[in-house]
Symmetry: C2
Subunit: 189 residues, 2 copies
């Protein structure tokens, strides 16, 4: 009976699932080793250390997120594209909280995770093609958009919208309307 061998790919996917279950900051080498049924020391021949593991997880998450966003954006433009992008983004964050948290860590642009991050950033910029913006207004608008989306899903995840009758879904729809309106008239007076 041969146990399935550990490869870096299997290891990082297992880490991603574990992070989604217990939280990104609860992701430990020991817990991952337990799940893979090996000793913790054995994992250090696949990853250099915990930081390396987290970085690889970040690369995985950024790649997956960019894939979903690209799919959501296909064939759409204008507000339609904005809403599809935002929903894909929020959906990923809700379904995969551990992966989403991993995607937020500081990234070395030179690393593989850096190129996944750049791809994601370019997709975000693609949305703004429907709003006809030139630099530096485009950069400002991307930052505003990214801030609002990231802030919303972070606060929602942290439970900030729970102690109130108004549902998070309803406020989300209004927020997307607001984003469309503000991008349409960008730059603001």
């Amino acid at each position: 009976m041969v146990r399935e061998k550990v490869t870096v790919e299997r290891l990082v996917h297992a880490a991603a699932d574990l992070a989604d279950e217990v939280g990104f900051d609860q992701l430990t080498v020991s817990a991952l080793a337990r799940r893979l049924d090996v000793r913790d020391a054995s994992l250090y021949s696949h990853v250099r250390n915990v930081q390396d593991l987290r970085m690889r997880l970040a690369a995985l998450a950024l790649t997956e997120l960019a894939d979903r966003v690209a799919e959501a954006l296909a064939g759409r433009a204008g507000k339609d594209a904005l809403v599809a992008f935002a929903n894909a983004y929020r959906d990923y964050a809700r379904r995969h909280p551990g992966r989403y948290a991993a995607a937020q860590i500081e990234i070395d642009p030179e690393s593989p995770a850096g190129s996944a991050a750049r791809r994601h950033a370019e997709l975000t910029r693609a949305i703004l093609r429907g709003y006809a913006l030139t630099e530096p207004a485009q950069t400002d608008a991307v930052r505003f958009l990214h801030s609002t989306l990231h802030g919303y899903v972070s606060l929602e995840r942290a439970g900030g919208f729970r102690h109130h009758p108004r549902t998070a879904d309803d406020s989300w729809r209004l927020s997307l309307d607001a984003l469309d309106a503000v991008l349409t008239t960008w730059p603001p007076d």
Copy 2:
């Protein structure tokens, strides 16, 4: 020569300073004990466990943040109040990254930290008095505002705006203009 005795207040303030220096998630009981020149076990007569320490730090941070915001808001209204509020918020997050991170953890509404959180939430709502909103539009607007501010300072802190010539300060000013514009015409069509 008697060493200054540890009280819960001194302990939590030292924890806050330590968290600002090394990061909220690097805040450990051991490191705090070293800084206070006592054994780590001694601190467990002041706080129940690490979670308790973090919660007390969150309460401190929320109280401080609410104080600064209240001061910034005094005597201002409309866009003036919005800008003062946002700048106080961002300034606190930049000066006190550890405390700011502490303020984001999930809070039990029944705890002391919960009342500090409520006070902060009420101050945020106070800004919207200048924009004449009624429920549920007011809740949607508060969530939108909070999302954008929190998202911006989080991404800025994580280094997301560093690899680009456009400064984070310039985009920030534009973002505040955009927030004012969107709140002025809330609810968005």
